[in-house]
C-alpha cells in the first residue's frame, strides 16, 4: 500500500489553510495547474502540512531569483529530475 495524498478538494483544517496560502503565492502562469488546485508536488507533502511552507519557502529563494536565469534554473531542475529517474 502506498502513502496517502490528500488533494486540495479533500483538504480540511490546517492542510486546507496551508494549501490556500500556497495558492495565494505569485506563480508564473506556466506553473499554474489546469486542475485548479495546488500543484501536485505540494499535495505530495500533504501528510505533513507544516512542512509545506518550509519546503516551498526554500523554493522561492532558489527558483524565483537569480543570479542564474530562468532557463538556466529550469535546466538544472529538469536535469536533476532526469538523473533521478523522476518524471515530475
Amino acid at each position: 500500500m502506498g502513502l496517502t495524498i490528500t488533494g486540495y478538494a479533500q483538504a480540511t483544517g490546517e492542510l486546507r489553510d496551508v494549501y490556500d496560502r500556497q495558492r495565494e503565492r505569485a506563480l508564473p502562469p506556466a506553473y499554474r495547474p489546469a486542475h485548479g488546485g495546488v500543484p501536485g508536488i505540494i499535495e505530495a507533502h500533504s501528510l505533513d502540512p507544516a512542512l509545506i511552507p518550509m519546503v516551498f519557502g526554500a523554493s522561492a529563494t532558489l527558483n524565483s531569483v537569480g543570479p542564474l536565469s530562468w532557463p538556466e534554473r529550469e535546466l538544472i531542475n529538469a536535469l536533476t529530475s532526469r538523473l533521478n529517474q523522476c518524471l515530475y
Partner: protein, 227 residues
C-alpha cells in the same frame, strides 16, 4: 501543440558546465573539487552562480524523492512521449570520503536561502512526532554517511534494533535509489506498526537532511584538490 522538428541546440560552455555541476551534485557531490570551481569560472560562472546551481539542484532532488515516495500524479497532460524512466537503474554509490573542513563557498552568501534552509532544518529536528527525535537522528546520520557529510557523526551500532534497520533500509532507498520507491518499500515498517504520517516522516527526514548534507558536501568539496 504541434510537435515541430527540433532546432539544433547550441550548448555553450556555461550551460555545459552547469550540466556537469548538476550531474556531480546529484550523483556524487563529494567528487566535486577545486578544479571544477576553476573550470566553472573559466566557463563564465561566478561563485554566486555555482552556489545557486548546487543549492537548487540539491533542493530539486528533494522534490523528486517526495514525488517518487508518494507516487504523485503529473499536473499536466503530457503532449509527447515522456522520456523513459527506468526503475531498474542501479542505486547511486555511497560516498567514499567524508568531507570536512572549511567550504570553498558559504551558503550565507545567499541569505534568504540560508535562512529558509535553517528554518526547514529546525522544523525537521525540533519535534517529537510522528517519529521520535532519536529516529530522526538515526536517519540523518545514515544519510550524512552515504553523502559524505563528515560534519555529522557516523551512525553507531544502529542496525542491532530491527526497527532502526528498517528505517535505514527505507532511508537508503530515498537517498540512493528514489526511483525504486514503491508500495513495497513501506511494507516492513508498516508491519512494525508505522502509519502513513510516520512513513512520510521517514521519507521527509531522509530527503530533507539529504538536501542539507548534499549542499554541505558539494560546497566543502569545491575546496579540495581534485584527483
Amino acid at each position: 501543440m504541434i510537435d515541430t522538428p527540433r532546432a539544433p541546440i547550441t550548448v555553450t560552455p556555461r550551460i555545459g558546465m552547469l550540466a556537469e555541476l548538476v550531474i556531480k551534485v546529484t550523483e556524487a557531490p563529494w567528487s566535486l573539487s577545486r578544479t571544477d570551481r576553476d573550470r566553472a569560472h573559466r566557463s563564465g560562472l561566478s561563485d554566486d552562480d555555482i552556489l545557486q546551481a548546487i543549492a537548487l539542484s540539491s533542493y530539486f532532488g528533494h522534490l523528486n524523492r517526495v514525488a517518487d515516495a508518494v507516487a504523485v500524479p503529473l499536473d499536466y497532460a503530457v503532449q509527447r512521449m515522456p522520456p523513459p524512466t527506468d526503475p531498474n537503474v542501479p542505486a547511486l554509490a555511497p560516498a567514499t570520503v567524508a568531507v570536512t573542513g572549511r567550504p570553498a563557498l558559504e551558503l550565507v552568501r545567499r541569505p534568504p536561502t540560508a535562512a529558509a534552509l535553517t528554518a526547514w532544518r529546525t522544523y525537521m529536528f525540533d519535534r517529537d512526532a510522528p517519529l521520535t527525535r532519536r529516529s530522526r537522528t538515526v536517519i540523518a546520520r545514515w544519510v550524512a554517511l552515504w553523502l559524505g557529510d563528515g560534519g555529522i557523526s557516523a551512525p553507531a551500532d544502529l542496525t542491532v534494533n530491527p526497527i532502526d534497520d528498517a528505517l535505514r533500509e527505507l532511508a537508503e532507498l530515498v537517498t540512493l535509489a528514489p526511483w525504486q520507491l514503491g508500495d513495497q518499500s513501506f511494507t516492513r515498517l508498516r508491519g512494525a506498526g508505522f502509519d502513513d504520517a510516520q512513513l512520510f516522516d521517514v521519507v521527509a527526514v531522509a530527503s530533507s537532511t539529504g538536501v542539507f548534507s548534499r549542499i554541505t558536501v558539494a560546497l566543502g568539496s569545491l575546496a579540495r584538490s581534485g584527483a
